[in-house]
Symmetry: C2
């Protein structure tokens, strides 16, 4: 999957032959299809793999007793940092989410999405957010992650600029807050 991520980032899903994935990964063609019956299975498995790893990282960052805004900030920043550190993951998700593989159901089915949506619901209860469906609030925040990472990729000198990141979180926060 790591090899596939690298190759997909470079040449896209369709620009990457399964044979090349196997070869670059140092395994045979046969063994690839032994573990992933089709290329589509591989791609879907990779999606959940990325989500899982981001989720684990994010959870390791939030601490108990954090306020709502702090929790959301931590999750938001964790996602940005993860994607900045792991550009292939970012590129993969971008491609995946605008491909026929993606559906809202798969998205919502993941713990990471569910956790974030719960935070949004809490915010709605507390009256800090605009009156918008929680899933949409979630998507607005996530799109800002996307925008931020994309911009940081283009302007790598900003990647260590903490104030810049914080500023963009405030942009996202201002968007959703009442």
């Amino acid at each position: 999957m790591a090899t596939a991520r690298k190759l997909f980032a470079q040449n896209g899903f369709y620009g990457t032959p399964t044979a090349k994935i196997a070869k670059d990964a140092g395994v045979s063609n046969g063994i690839l299809f032994h573990y992933f019956p089709t290329k589509d299975h591989l791609i879907k498995a990779m999606y959940f793999d990325v989500k899982d790893r981001i989720f684990d990282y994010s959870l390791s960052q939030v601490y108990k007793g954090a306020t709502l805004k702090e929790s959301i900030y931590t999750l938001w920043l964790a996602a940005v940092e993860w994607y900045v550190e792991n550009p292939e993951d970012f590129n993969f998700m971008l491609q995946f989410e605008s491909s026929p593989y993606y559906s809202v159901e798969t998205e919502v089915s993941h713990r990471h999405t569910q956790l974030t949506i719960e935070l949004m619901e809490k915010g709605l209860e507390q009256g800090v957010f605009k009156n918008i469906q929680p899933f949409l609030l979630f998507q607005i925040m996530m799109k800002m992650v996307e925008t931020t990472v994309q911009y940081l990729q283009l302007n790598s000198e900003l990647q260590e600029d903490f104030a810049f990141r914080n500023g963009l979180f405030e942009v996202a926060w201002d968007a959703v807050k009442k």
Copy 2:
């Protein structure tokens, strides 16, 4: 190009053989490659075509003497409406922008982008926006268009809901305003 848009929306760039594009368009294989030397040429041409049509529509909506916020609102809403009315255009752009074809240079080279960025610069001068590079302001607004359209596609009963659209523009505006 219209046929290709439809097919690309259904099956993606790579899932759509050139032969099928020609056949569905009612022309021969040969004539397709007569006008577009490669599939890539076709795809790039389609990108500029979509951008052009959106630009024309957007300009027809803005009126002289509008305030800055009104102008931006009109452009923003025009983009949303266009994409809601022309889902294949939207789907095509989504795919294009997360494909190897896309680059910031092509994006910035288009009049539509340039016009919007100019408005952002004006807003910065007037001190109404957060102190953020104009291109990034532009991208934040555009991502909100994306989010809005995607949500409207999933919840088609909201497509006639004017208040909903306006609400989401305010979300975008709150994000960038100081």
